[in-house]
C-alpha cells in the first residue's frame, strides 16, 4: 500500500510531528552484537525510498557488552538534526529496556524481544508492558531466526535482522529497498546478503500474520534523495585530503578520529597510486603517540610535502608544543580535530564543540591559528583539500574542527565539488629564483607586506638555499637572535600574517531574511538544528538572520552582521560559549548585542532546545 504524503496529512497525537515520514526511531542494543549492519540497512532502505534521513550511533567507549543506541530520523521536510523524542523504540537490550520504554514519546510504539517477558532469566530486569499510551509489539526473535533456516554458524550474526523485517512490516519499509541496502552494504556478495534477507522476510511475514494492532507511524516513498548519497564526515574529509595532495598522514588512534585515518588509507590506496610507476604517492604512519604524529607532519611540511594528522581533544593537547613551534618556525601542517567530550575516559564517544579556544590558541602564548569549521559533508570534502592550500600559503598549522556527530554518523549529501582551483603551494624559492636574487633572500623577510615570507626546501641546489629553522629567537634571515627589536618585529609580522589569513580562510555565510529581528550565529554540525530551529522560531513569530562561521580568524562580515541586530545569539555545543567569547574579545564594542546560548551534555544540539532557548531569552526582554 503506497500513498503520497499529501494523502496522509495526519498529525501525531502529541503534536510533535505527523505520523508519516516525520518521526525518529531508536534501536537499543548491546554493543558488539552486530546491530550496526541492521541499523545501516534500515537507514539505507529509507534513503532508497527517497525519504530524507539521518542516522546517529550513540555508543559507549567499549568493545562488547555495554548499551548502544542508534537513532534514525525521517523527515519529509528534510530536517536532519536529532529529535529529542523518539516515536518508535526497538528494544533489544534487556539492561536498558525499562528506561528506554519509559522515555518513549507519548503515543509511541515499542518493539521488544519477547524473551524479556516470557523467559524467567530476564525477569530481574523488570520489563513489563506498563504504559497504556504506547503500543507494544513483542518480537519472537529466536523463533523467527530458527524458522528462517539460516546456517547455524551465522545465527548470531544475522539475528538482529529480525527486527529489521518486523519494523519494515510495521512502518511499510519497502523490502526491495532493504535488499538494495544489503546489496550496498555487502558489496553485492550474495553469500552474505541471502541469509540476512532470509531472516528479514521471515520476520516480515511473521509480523504480517500475527500483529493485530496497527502501527500509526508509516513511511511512504518520496523523491527527496535522488542525486544524493549517504556518507560519514570522516570519510568525506579523508576523500578531500586525498584530492588535496595529502602525502603524509601521521596519526595515532583516538575515537572519534580513527575512522578518518582508516578512510584515508582506503582512498589513498584506491586513488593515489601513480599510474606510471605503480607506486604510492603518499605515506601513512601510525605513530607511537600524538606527539610523534604531529612531529612527523611538521618534519614533512618543512621538507615540502603535504602532511596532516587526525586526532581529537586529548591528542590536540599533546600536540601543543609542536604546534607552538610550527607557528613560530612557520611550517605548514594540517590538523583535523574530530571533537569529543573531555579528557581520558570522560565521555570519549560523545559529541562536543569544546576545542574551539584550545585549538585557536594552542601553543605558548601569542599564537593564533586558522581554524576551519565544516558543517556538512560537502564542506568536509572541500576543507579536506583546501586546508593544505591554506597551510602552505600561510606557512602555518591549520586546524579543521569537526566533531563526532558529523564525523562518524551518516549524513545525506549532494555530490562533492571537484576543487575549483589549482593547488596553491605558497611562496617557495627554487634554485633559479635564488640565482635571480643572487642569493639575497631572508626566510622571515616580509617582501610582499602580507606577513608571509619566502621559504626554500631542503634539497634545493643553490649555495644560498639553506637556512636554520628554530622556534623563537630569530631575525629576518633566520639567524639566532635574542634581541628585543627582532622579536617584536617578528610578532608584528605574524600579526600581519594573521590579517592575511582573514581574507584567505572560508568566509562566513550569511542568510538574511526580510524583517529579521534577531541574529543567530553558529558553526559546525549544529547547522542542521539551526535551520530547523529558525523555521520553528519563524512560525512562533520570530524571524531570524543567520550567520554561519566557517573559519577563524573572523572577517568583517561578522561585526557587520552583529551590527544589524540588537540581539545576536551565538549557539554552540560547549559549556563556556567559547565562540561567543572569541567574538566578544575581537569586537568588544558589540558586547551588549552578543548573547551566548551554549549547552554541553554529550548530545548534538536539537532545534527544540535552540528555539526554546532563544524564545526564553526574547521573552525576558
Amino acid at each position: 500500500m503506497v500513498q503520497g504524503v499529501e494523502a496522509l496529512p495526519r498529525e501525531a497525537a502529541d503534536g510533535s510531528g505527523s505520523l508519516i515520514n516525520d518521526f525518529q526511531l531508536i534501536v537499543a542494543t548491546i554493543n558488539g552484537t552486530g546491530s550496526q549492519t541492521s541499523n545501516t540497512a534500515i537507514i539505507r532502505s529509507l534513503f532508497k525510498m527517497g525519504i530524507p534521513v539521518n542516522g546517529k550511533n550513540i555508543f559507549p567507549s567499549n568493545i562488547q557488552g555495554l548499551p548502544t543506541w542508534f537513532t534514525i530520523r525521517v523527515s519529509k521536510d528534510g530536517y536532519i538534526a536529532r529529535l529529542e523524542d523518539n516515536a518508535i523504540l526497538v528494544a533489544m537490550n534487556p539492561n536498558t529496556a525499562v528506561q528506554d520504554a519509559q522515555e518513549l514519546a507519548p503515543g509511541g510504539i515499542c518493539l521488544y524481544d519477547e524473551v524479556f517477558t516470557t523467559d524467567q532469566r530476564y525477569r530481574s530486569f523488570g520489563f513489563v508492558e506498563n504504559r497504556p499510551d504506547i503500543t507494544y509489539f513483542p518480537m519472537p526473535i529466536d523463533q523467527i531466526v530458527t524458522s528462517a533456516e539460516v546456517p547455524k554458524e551465522l545465527v548470531d550474526r544475522v539475528r538482529n535482522m529480525a527486527y529489521v523485517g518486523i519494523l519494515a512490516y510495521l512502518i511499510d519499509i519497502d523490502l526491495e529497498a532493504v535488499e538494495y541496502a544489503l546489496h550496498f552494504h555487502f558489496g553485492g556478495k550474495e553469500r552474505a546478503i541471502r541469509p540476512n534477507m532470509q531472516v528479514i522476510t521471515t520476520a516480515h511475514d511473521w509480523a504480517a500474520e500475527h500483529y493485530a494492532s496497527p502501527c500509526p507511524y508509516k513511511v511512504v516513498p518520496m523523491q527527496e534523495t535522488s542525486g544524493k548519497f549517504l556518507l560519514d564526515g570522516n570519510s568525506a574529509a579523508a576523500l578531500g585530503a586525498a584530492f588535496g595532495g595529502l602525502s603524509l598522514l601521521a596519526w595515532y588512534p583516538i575515537t572519534p578520529s580513527t575512522s578518518l585515518a582508516d578512510a584515508a588509507k582506503d582512498y589513498l590506496e584506491e586513488f593515489r597510486i601513480d599510474r606510471e610507476t605503480g607506486k604510492p604517492t603518499f605515506a601513512i604512519i601510525q605513530a607511537e603517540d600524538e606527539l610523534a604524529a604531529i612531529g612527523m607532519v611538521i618534519g614533512a611540511g618543512w621538507a615540502g610535502a603535504r602532511a596532516m594528522t587526525a586526532t581529537s581533544g586529548p591528542g590536540i593537547s599533546l600536540m601543543t608544543e609542536f604546534t607552538g613551534l610550527a607557528y613560530f618556525a612557520e611550517i605548514p601542517a594540517v590538523i583535523w580535530d574530530v571533537q569529543r567530550m573531555g579528557p581520558s575516559t570522560g565521555l570519549p564517544t560523545r559529541v562536543s564543540q569544546g576545542d574551539v579556544m584550545a585549538a585557536h590558541f594552542l601553543g605558548h602564548g601569542d599564537s593564533r591559528h586558522p581554524v576551519l569549521f565544516p558543517s556538512s559533508l560537502k564542506e568536509c570534502f572541500e576543507f579536506g583539500w583546501k586546508a593544505f592550500d591554506l597551510a602552505e600559503e600561510l606557512q602555518t598549522p591549520v586546524f579543521v574542527l569537526t566533531d563526532l556527530d558529523l564525523g562518524m554518523n551518516l549524513w545525506m549529501t549532494e555530490p562533492f565539488d571537484y576543487p575549483d582551483q589549482p593547488m596553491k603551494r605558497g611562496k617557495i624559492l627554487t634554485a633559479d629564483d635564488l640565482e635571480a636574487l643572487k642569493g639575497d633572500w631572508g626566510r622571515y623577510r616580509d617582501v610582499d607586506g602580507d606577513g608571509v615570507g619566502y621559504r626554500t626546501l631542503p634539497g634545493t641546489e643553490h649555495w644560498s638555499a639553506a637556512y636554520f629553522t628554530r622556534g623563537t629567537g630569530h631575525d629576518e634571515n633566520a639567524n639566532y637572535s635574542e634581541r628585543a627589536d627582532h622579536w617584536t618585529r617578528n610578532l608584528d609580522r605574524l600579526a600581519r600574517k594573521f590579517n592575511t589569513a582573514r581574507r584567505l580562510v572560508p568566509a562566513p555565510l550569511v542568510e538574511h531574511k526580510p524583517g529579521a529581528s534577531i541574529g543567530l550565529i553558529a558553526y559546525g554540525t549544529s547547522d542542521a538544528a539551526i535551520a530547523e530551529a529558525r523555521d520553528q522560531l519563524s512560525r512562533a513569530g520570530l524571524t531570524t538572520g543567520y550567520l554561519r562561521i566557517r573559519a577563524l580568524p573572523f572577517n568583517d562580515a561578522v561585526p557587520d552582521f552583529i551590527g544589524q541586530f540588537d540581539s545576536v545569539y551565538v549557539i554552540e555545543n560547549n559549556y563556556d560559549g567559547q565562540m561567543a567569547k572569541l567574538i566578544l574579545m575581537e569586537y568588544p564594542r558589540l558586547a551588549d548585542r552578543i548573547k551566548s546560548l551554549s549547552k554541553c551534555d554529550g548530545w548534538p544540539l536539537t532545534a527544540h532546545w535552540i528555539a526554546n532557548a532563544v524564545e526564553e531569552q526574547e521573552e525576558k526582554k
Binding site: 534513503f47 527517497g50 534523495t225 544524493k228 584530492f243 595532495g245 618534519g299 618543512w302 610535502a305 637556512y467
Partner: protein
C-alpha cells in the same frame, strides 16, 4: 632511481672548498666534547665530498642540540623540540628520501624525554645518522643527572645518583638498530671513521659518542670524563673506510688470517676492521654485540666499567622505512607535481556515482 643516483646527489665528485662545510662559531663551553664532534662532522663531510644542499641536520634541545648550528652552514637545519627530533626527521625523510639526514641529540634528549621516539625511529629503521653526544649530565639547566649518569656518582648540584645508567647502545640493539657504534670525543680518528661508515649506511646509524661536559661532569671519577675515556677506552677495532671507487681484495665474512674483517656498506663503500686483540668482536653478530656491552658494564663494584668503542653492530640488509612505505622511487613525495597529487575529476565522479542511490 637507483641507489647510485641517490649517492651521486648526496656526494659530489669533487668536494667543495673545505670552508664551505664550516658552521657558525660555537657558543658551547671551551673544551666541550660537542665542539670536537662538530669538527669531525665538518672534516668527514669534506672528505666524503658530501653535497651540503642534500643534507639536513636536525636536533632536539640541549647543549648537544645547539651544535648543528656549528657545522655545515650550507645545509638546511632544524632545531626541533626536546626529545622529539626523531619524529621530525622521520617526516622530513618521508617527504624527501634523497636527503642525507644527520641528527644530533644528547643523553637527556635521547635517554629521558626522547627515549620513546628514539626507540621508535630505530624500530622503523629510518635512514639517517643519529648522533648522541653523551655526557651524563644536563648542561643548559646547570648540572642535573641524566639517565646515562653513573650509579653512585656524586655531583655538587645534583647530589647522589642512585639509579643505574641506561646504556643507549644496548637500547638501540634491543630495538633492532641496524648500525650501532660507540666512540669518544677524545678519539677523533675513530669518530671520523665511524661517521664515514654511518653516512654510507642505509638505515638508522646510532653513534653514541661519550662527549665530556667540562662545566659539570669532567671530574676523574666520572665515566663521561676525558681522563676516564683516555684511561678506560677499549677500542674494538682499527677501522679503515674505503670509498666506493677504491677496489679492495678482501671479501670474506668474518676475520681473515690477517685479523681483518671487511664490511660492505650500502653506498658501495666498505670498512675494513682490523682486530686489536685475540678475542675479536664480529659486528655482524647481534647476540655477541649485546653480550659485549652487558659484560662491559656488569663489573664488580671494585672495578671500573670498560668503555667499549668502535663498531658494535651492523646489519646492511634490513629494509628501511622508505622501503617499507614503497616511496623510494625517483621523485620524492615533496617534489610530486599536482598531476600526481590530485586525481582527475573523473575519479571523483566515478566514486560519487558508486555511492548514489
Amino acid at each position: 632511481m637507483t641507489l647510485v643516483d641517490i649517492n651521486s646527489l648526496r656526494f659530489l665528485a669533487e668536494p667543495l672548498d673545505r670552508k664551505e662545510y664550516g658552521g657558525k662559531p660555537s657558543t658551547l663551553c671551551k673544551g666541550c666534547g660537542h665542539n670536537s664532534i662538530a669538527s669531525q662532522i665538518i672534516a668527514v663531510a669534506y672528505e666524503l665530498g658530501i653535497n651540503p644542499n642534500q643534507l639536513i641536520k636536525l636536533s632536539g634541545i640541549g647543549c648537544s642540540s645547539k651544535s648543528p648550528a656549528y657545522f655545515l652552514n650550507r645545509s638546511h637545519g632544524f632545531n626541533t623540540l626536546h626529545g622529539r627530533m626523531p619524529s621530525v626527521a622521520t617526516g622530513a625523510i618521508i617527504a624527501n628520501h634523497h636527503l642525507l639526514a644527520v641528527g644530533v641529540s644528547g643523553d637527556g634528549d635521547t635517554g629521558s624525554i626522547g627515549l620513546g621516539q628514539f626507540k621508535h625511529i630505530i624500530r622503523r629503521n629510518v635512514p639517517m645518522v643519529y648522533i648522541i653526544e653523551n655526557n651524563g649530565v644536563y648542561g643548559l639547566t646547570k648540572g642535573q643527572f641524566s639517565a646515562t649518569a653513573d650509579k653512585g656518582q656524586q655531583l655538587k648540584y645534583a647530589g647522589l645518583n642512585d639509579l643505574p645508567p641506561i646504556d643507549l647502545c644496548l637500547e638501540a640493539l634491543a630495538g633492532d638498530a641496524t648500525f650501532v657504534a660507540r666512540s669518544f670525543a677524545g678519539a677523533p680518528r675513530q669518530v671520523q671513521s665511524l661517521l664515514k661508515a654511518a653516512f654510507s649506511h642505509n638505515g638508522i646509524a646510532v653513534l653514541d659518542i661519550i662527549s665530556p661536559c667540562v662545566a659539570f661532569n669532567d671530574h676523574e671519577s666520572s665515566t663521561k670524563s676525558y681522563t676516564y675515556g683516555k684511561n678506560h677506552q677499549v677500542p674494538l677495532q682499527d677501522i679503515t673506510y674505503i670509498p666506493v671507487e677504491d677496489e679492495i681484495m678482501i671479501d670474506e665474512e668474518g676475520y681473515d688470517s690477517a685479523g681483518e674483517q671487511t664490511v660492505d656498506l650500502h653506498s658501495g663503500a666498505r670498512i675494513v676492521l682490523k682486530k686489536l686483540d685475540e678475542s675479536a668482536h664480529d659486528p655482524t653478530d647481534r647476540a655477541a654485540a649485546m653480550r659485549l656491552l652487558e659484560e662491559a658494564r656488569n663489573v664488580p663494584p671494585t672495578e671500573n666499567p670498560r668503555l667499549i668503542t668502535g663498531l658494535i653492530y651492523i646489519d646492511s640488509n634490513r629494509p628501511t622505512l622508505v622501503d617499507a612505505l614503497h616511496i623510494g622511487h625517483e621523485m620524492p613525495l615533496a617534489h610530486l607535481p599536482e598531476s600526481k597529487l590530485r586525481p582527475p575529476k573523473e575519479v571523483l565522479d566515478a566514486f560519487v556515482s558508486k555511492l548514489m542511490v
